[in-house]
Amino acid sequence: MTTAPATAAPLAIVPPEVATDAVVIHDETVAARNPWTRVIAAGDTLTMVDVGGNQAVDFLVYDAHDTELRYSAPDTLQGQDTIYLTTGSVLRDAEHGPLMTVVADTCGRHDTLGGACSKESNTLRYGHHTRAQHACVENFLLGGSRHGLGKRDLVSNINWFMNVPVDPDGALGIVDGISAPGLAVSVRAERDVLVLISNCPQINNPCNGFDPTPVRVIVTRP
């Protein structure tokens, strides 16, 4: 993982809505299967780039000053008229307060229902033989542990670039992705927030095209 000097990175990959007059203050490539955490200051924007295409980015966000105020999938859905996230979606905490807003999205829609893969749930989904495999919850626990967070702080998360349709009869599942190399989503911090990312290591379903790849994370300041 590398961090480029401020303003040195090309902005071409950042959506124009975000890039206009913005200064890059952090630019990093998160290797496949790795966690990533960072405090994003109020007003700054985090852009996540699906470098290789169809790479699920599992994502949790907390109020940096009071981590009990954390992302809530139900509150986020209550505040909009769709189960998916895209430009305009407000990521809300469990007391219904806004944490971040999606300000640009070239992918189109992102998942709010599927949660994170874990070694334990892998045993249910694919068989007890998958228990040893790396999983997003491991990344969340490792990343969170650097900020005083533990198991109690993990809740249903966002999966950027992951495709989880719900059929009219309620059937739902992770199916082939609709993302592609270079597509990106940008979220602006509405207050100082702590972001936890797991660059999903799952290899048993199509969420990563069966081949986990890097994701690029860029923080810009207006």
């Binding site: 509150d75 859905l77 998916y84 469990a94 007391e95 749930s121 007890h128 009219p168």
Partner: protein, 285 residues
């Protein structure tokens, strides 16, 4: 009657149970005094708990593995907000995302499991009289519970002592009775007010089919938190909630040979994990 002295205050306090004899008690002691509708094959004499949660109220129960817990909407107006935790290690709790993802189904009904974040079955829904249909779900696992902020916007108040209590506030109180805080409250499920999802992902409130009940089997020792308050997507301008009857009776967890055990491979492995966990902890010997 004077309450100016300790003797007078004690007498005043002790008068109240008698004076309230005409009111329906919220919690029945003994539970066998329950006269409401029960599951087939169950009699009031089997009950270890019977309680009526008033509209806008909450309760919590700690139950042994195998216990049947039945929640009944007696009026057709109730929405039951539910959370379950492993009683011995409550950091293990309901994981709604795993519950719907592992079972490939967002609309929960009889036959579905409530899964923990540790790949175990916390409970099985063994009975559902709500008339759940694939195109008209009567329960909801996606939209969670209500908050102070949102109930204040919608009804003017979300206070637990007000006319339209918020589910999260009720859960915070119920959780606190078990040493748990808001940090321990994950997304919850609701019963008796359904929400469908259109092809393009838009929710539509389906609502209630009238009085109904669901019955859970505890697959592990559980803390059960239950709140009775309006569904967060209920479009009616007036706050709508109803009483919930909660009864419980003893039983056994799901075992090999039960139809539920082999109903799906995902469920079987969840039961295998729960059974192994009970055994390593010294139960089921």
């Amino acid at each position: 009657m004077t309450t100016a002295t300790t003797t007078g205050a004690k007498a005043h306090a002790r008068e109240q149970e008698l004076a309230a004899a005409a009111e329906l008690p919220r919690v029945l002691h003994p539970a066998s005094a329950y006269v409401g509708e029960l599951s087939p094959g169950v009699s009031a004499g089997d009950l270890v708990w019977a309680e009526t949660v008033p509209p806008g109220g909450y309760t919590s129960l700690v139950v042994a593995a195998g216990t049947r817990v039945r929640v009944r909407d007696t009026t057709g107006d109730a929405c039951a907000h539910l959370l379950v935790f492993h009683a011995d290690q409550p950091t293990e709790r309901l994981n709604v995302a795993d519950t719907v993802k592992v079972q490939w189904q967002a609309f929960l009904t009889a036959g579905h499991l409530l899964l923990s974040d540790q790949g175990r079955a916390l409970a099985t829904i063994v009975e559902d009289t709500a008339g759940n249909r694939a195109d008209a779900p009567r329960h909801d696992a996606l939209f969670g519970t209500s908050t102070l902020v949102r109930n204040a916007e919608r009804y003017g108040s979300g206070d637990v002592f007000g006319p339209s209590p918020a589910g999260r506030e009720l859960f915070a109180l119920a959780a606190a009775k078990h040493g748990l805080t808001r940090r321990d409250i994950p997304p919850s499920v609701t019963f008796f007010e359904g929400v469908s999802v259109s092809d393009d992902g838009r929710p539509a409130f389906v609502g209630s089919s009238g009085p109904a009940s669901i019955t859970l089997v505890a697959e592990l020792p559980l803390i059960v938190l239950l709140a009775s308050t309006a569904h967060p997507l209920d479009p009616r301008p007036e706050f709508t909630a109803g009483p919930l009857d909660v009864v419980a009776w003893p039983g056994a967890p799901t075992v090999p040979g039960d139809p539920a055990w082999d109903a799906t491979p995902e469920g079987r492995r969840a039961y295998e994990n729960s059974t192994a966990h009970r055994r390593t902890r010294g139960a089921d010997r």
